[in-house]
């Protein structure tokens, strides 16, 4: 069950998207998120959805993996959709029973929001699936480099190092959680039945061992890093240099064009 979490993982391949500069991908992701949020109608949403699908296709990563990343988030999407259905009270009344009335605008809004979140998740997955964590954090570090002029250079490095390590340990900790859960089940722990309060209480015997082992791991990792001459990033030179190439400029151009289409579609329909 927990093994299905693919968030923050990298899948090697030799696609164009993989080879794009991490900085460009980061900036484009922000641009895409903005684009998704300024979509006002289904036509503009359709354009961005189509564009997202094309990008997914170009990553050469099996579509199955993208479904995996969506699967985890589906309960949240359904929850927000239902809230929308109940809270919006404009348009035509479609259904009315007991104290509940469902309006047509509620349904369209719910579908619109759900689609928007789905596209958002998919396009964000593209970034983590196609960029190695080191490239990603390196990209963030370089994008935030101007912050050193206000004395935050060290903070930027520390943050990017923390991100690298966090991403590296996600699969390890997931595996460990699985093991602890099995161990507690073997001792008779009941993790499935009961109401919400009971379920949360049942999580405690899993979280505490996980926390303790994480702290122990942190100590050992710190020692191992020290043995490899890590001294807080002073004088550190990255092996892989990020370089902008023609394909980077082309992809920026493409995204800006898509943004243009969206603005036009927003005003036309």
């Amino acid at each position: 069950m927990l093994k299905d979490i693919t968030f923050g993982q990298y899948f090697p391949s030799n696609s164009v998207v993989h080879k794009l500069d991490a900085r460009v991908k980061l900036v484009l992701l922000v641009l895409q998120i903005v684009t998704i949020f300024i979509c006002k109608n289904f036509v503009s949403l359709g354009i961005i959805a189509l564009f997202t699908l094309v990008v997914l296709f170009f990553t050469k990563i099996p579509i199955k993996l993208y479904f995996k990343s969506i699967k985890v988030i589906i309960p949240i999407i359904i929850f927000t959709a239902i809230l929308n259905v109940f809270y919006i009270k404009t348009g035509v009344v479609l259904l009315s029973f007991w104290k509940i009335t469902i309006w047509s605008d509620g349904i369209t809004k719910a579908i619109f929001m759900a689609a928007r979140v789905l596209i958002l998740i998919l396009i964000s997955s593209v970034l983590t699936y196609t960029t190695t964590p080191n490239d990603l954090t390196d990209g963030i570090e370089r994008l935030l480099k101007p912050l050193k002029f206000i004395g935050l250079g060290q903070a930027v490095h520390t943050m990017s190092m923390m991100m690298t390590i966090a991403l590296r340990f996600i699969p390890t900790l997931i595996e460990e959680t699985d093991k602890i859960m099995s161990a507690q089940k073997a001792r008779g722990a009941d993790l499935e039945s009961g109401g919400i309060v009971q379920k949360v209480k049942a999580l405690l015997p899993i979280l505490i061992p996980l926390l303790i082992s994480s702290v122990r791991r942190a100590y050992e990792l710190a020692e191992a890093m020290e043995c490899r001459c890590y001294n807080g990033g002073k004088g550190r030179i990255r092996m892989k240099r990020l370089k902008m190439a023609l394909k980077d400029y082309i992809s920026v151009l493409l995204c800006v064009v898509v943004l243009g289409f969206i603005i036009v579609a927003n005003n036309l329909f």
Binding site: Q9, P133, R168, P171, E220, A224, I237, K240
Partner: protein
């Protein structure tokens, strides 16, 4: 003797609120350059402490540890010492910094501030030396235990140390992973002439060593060539270690009055020795 690491009357103790326990007391040891050394001892014999003392990860309470003549107490020499002596730990998961094999191996060279071209070369060489080159762009969490440990070793080799200290590197691995790691270590010693200090409680791993050191209670209780050390069965048992099955068999035969030579570890030699006995019986 050209020694790379030298312990001079080192004392080390762990302090807690209730008591201080001395792990090492007036401990002296010299490790010769280019040799393959195995340190054997049960849990709590002070062998892990010894490992951490070799590159200044922890500092001696009194006495000194010298690496190529540099004292680990000298803070200016800290980086030089860590470049000379690399440490590999038990749990490979807790030593890997990055999610991708080659990026993890590059961590050391990057910290040293080497040029990207030189880092690249060192990473490629280190991965080839540990036979992990074909895995260079794979995610580290998809590897087996033995492969992860080899990545950890590659990460140390990429800093081109003169000496590698391995603290129970095979303890968490299955027999296959153990063999992979051990072969890698042997190869590094033979081909790159890197001094190896292998700390373990698996006696079998001492078979090919130049020198075996048995530790018990923070003291060296046996020291010498594998065959010399393994002939001292009582010292080994006292140190809380299990004799390799071959050595155990031969020493029991000896007790019963058969004339066999002691200190044999490898299965082949044991077979030879036993068949010699059987031939005699037949006559």
């Amino acid at each position: 003797m050209d020694s790379i690491i030298k312990f001079n009357n080192v004392t080390f103790e762990y302090e807690s609120e209730e008591n201080t326990s001395k792990v090492l007391e007036n401990f002296s040891l010299e490790i010769e350059r280019g040799t393959f050394n195995v340190i054997l001892g049960h849990n709590g014999s002070g062998k892990s402490t010894l490992a951490k003392l070799t590159n200044g990860l922890i500092k001696a309470k009194s006495g000194e540890v010298l690496v190529n003549g540099m004292s680990t107490m000298d803070e200016e020499k800290e980086i030089d010492i860590k470049r000379t002596v690399g440490l590999v730990f038990q749990n490979p998961d807790n030593q890997i910094v990055s999610s991708i094999v080659e990026e993890d191996v590059a961590f050391g060279p990057e910290n040293l501030g080497l040029s990207p071209e030189e880092s690249r070369e060192r990473v490629d060489n280190a991965l080839k030396a540990t036979e992990m080159y074909e895995f260079r762009d794979k995610p580290t969490h998809k590897l087996s235990g033995g492969q992860k440990q080899r990545v950890a070793i590659a990460g140390i080799i990429a800093m081109e140390p003169e000496c590698i200290v391995l603290d129970e590197p095979t303890a968490m691995l299955d027999p296959r992973g153990r063999k992979e790691v051990l072969n890698t270590i042997l190869k590094l010693n033979k081909e790159k002439n890197i001094t190896i200090i292998l700390i373990t409680h698996f006696m079998e791993e001492a078979e090919n060593a130049h020198r075996v050191i048995v530790m018990n209670d923070g003291k060296v209780t046996a020291d010498g060539k594998p065959c010399q050390v393994f002939a001292q069965t009582d010292v080994i048992k006292e140190a809380g270690l299990d004799l390799p099955q071959t050595t155990d068999l031969l020493s029991k035969l000896k007790e019963k009055g058969f004339s066999v030579s002691g200190g044999i570890i490898s299965a082949d030699e044991c077979v030879k020795e036993v068949s010699k006995l059987l031939d005699l019986e037949e006559i």
